[in-house]
């Protein structure tokens, strides 16, 4: 619609700090909006035989601070170089110098094999964590050409200096022995220091391909 078709009053918008400007529901006036929605793209990293993929606040346009109270990582088509490697993550409180935040986590999954011979809903005590190691988000991703894993991690209020840092993750992946696995993990970084970096890697070998995208949730 050309601006010339707007009426005089159409552009009489009351300014509001940081508010977006859009057309109203009648598409014949302007109004202030919510700034374009609550889910904001921050950064996409694309693996290419990558040992790690890291999001560090303040580096390479990454925002991972008090700007948002919730962050969401979406990982898509994560393909390992090594068959049945685990996809894992860790947090840092020193801008990525060390990824070793103490964590307490839970891990359970549901699975089904393509032959229909095995199904389960199972807690895995060997995949949960009380320690500083990398936490498993998807256990044993196959490296066949069409095999991969996809899912998300919600990280809540990483900049808090009062509370621990909770996270919730869910991932679906194609296991190397032709199982579909629905991974459900959650936990917290047991620190009151601000978390300002997050790193992803396979338990063995590189991330051959795939993307991880970071969003801020307003």
């Amino acid at each position: 619609m050309a601006i010339s078709k707007l009426n005089f009053n159409s552009i009489n918008v009351t300014p509001s700090a940081n508010a977006a400007i859009g057309f109203d529901s009648g598409a014949d006036d302007l109004e202030t909006g919510s700034g374009g929605g609550a889910m904001k793209f921050i950064k996409k990293l694309t693996a290419s035989s990558s040992a790690t993929l890291s999001f560090v606040d303040g580096a390479s346009s990454v925002v991972l601070d008090s700007t948002y109270k919730e962050y969401m990582f979406i990982f898509n088509n994560i393909h390992p170089a090594t068959n049945n490697a685990n996809f894992t993550f860790n947090m840092s409180i020193d801008s990525g110098s060390n990824y070793n935040v103490e964590k307490t986590t839970t891990f359970f999954y549901a699975y089904q094999d393509e032959g229909g011979t095995a199904t389960a809903l199972q807690y895995r005590t060997d995949y949960d964590l009380t320690g500083t190691g990398f936490h498993i988000l998807a256990a044993e991703i196959g490296n066949g050409n069409d095999e991969c894993g996809s899912g998300y991690v919600h990280l809540f209020n990483p900049s808090s200096t009062t509370f621990v840092k909770h996270f919730i993750s869910r991932a679906s992946h194609y296991q190397g022995s032709d199982y579909m696995i629905d991974n459900n993990t959650a936990g917290y970084g047991n620190t009151t220091s601000a978390v300002d970096a997050v790193q992803f890697k396979m338990s063995s070998g590189n991330i051959d391909a795939g993307t991880i995208t970071l969003y801020g949730i307003s």
């Binding site: 009351t14 508010a19 400007i21 549901a110 393509e114 809903l121 095999e147 899912g151 991932a171 679906s172």
Partner: protein, 220 residues
């Protein structure tokens, strides 16, 4: 404040592709704002509908490589028939029929209104092992006036011609026998063909009412 009060420099905004126009922090000039990453593509509203289908390129639906992740939201899906399963299937690009090969798992948490039964369990009747049936994401939705089904379904990179197509659903139903049931469904379309159509339906009878929304999630 009327637009006439803006200064000449108020309009001196550096254009950024895909960005929205916004007021600045002082509300006396313009700046660019980051557009939302979650874009509403299409809303379908059931009205005694046998199926609700999202077909790429039809009726303003986008279901291709425009977005790497898609999300469907189910809002108060109400069946015409009491106690029927709500389900979905895909159709590959150039394919015929909603009959893609699916391997999936389903587990549920449940609690009845009388408080006499609660559990967390795997649901073998709802999963598939390289099956081509519609994938159930609700088992037995009640059709009383106040009963319905809600939830969300992520679909990852449906346009890939390299990988299988993962999906992940979290749904909640008012079970026909007066249970609250939450379902966790994960799986993949076991095909390297692009999936460009998704259809939803009940196993029996129409979708009496309810809304399904399709969103695209940007990664740039």
């Amino acid at each position: 404040m009327a637009i006439s009060k803006f200064n000449y420099n108020s309009f001196n905004v550096t254009p950024v592709a895909g960005a929205a126009l916004a007021f600045d922090a002082d509300a006396d000039g313009f700046s660019t704002a980051t557009a939302t990453s979650m874009v509403l593509i299409k809303t379908l509203t059931a009205s005694s509908s046998a199926t609700l289908s999202f077909v790429d390129g039809s009726s303003d639906v986008v279901l291709d490589n425009t977005y790497p992740v898609y999300m469907f939201k189910f809002i108060n899906i109400h069946p015409a028939t009491d106690g029927t399963a709500f389900s979905f299937q895909g159709n590959s690009s150039g394919g015929s029929g909603y009959n893609e090969t699916i391997t999936s798992s389903v587990f549920q948490a449940q609690h009845n209104e009388s408080g006499s039964a609660s559990s967390l369990s795997y649901v073998t009747s709802m999963d598939q092992a390289n099956g081509t049936s519609f994938q159930q994401i609700g088992l037995s939705v009640g059709n009383d006036n106040d009963q319905s089904f809600v939830g969300s379904l992520f679909l990852f990179n449906p346009s890939s011609t390299t990988f299988v197509k993962h999906f992940s659903a979290t749904t909640q139903e008012y079970y026909s026998s007066n249970y609250s049931k939450r379902y966790f469904t994960g799986g993949y379309f076991n095909t390297t063909s692009a999936i460009d159509e998704i259809q939803f339906k009940f196993a029996s009878g129409n979708i009496d009412a309810g809304t399904i929304k399709l969103y695209g999630i940007k990664d740039s």
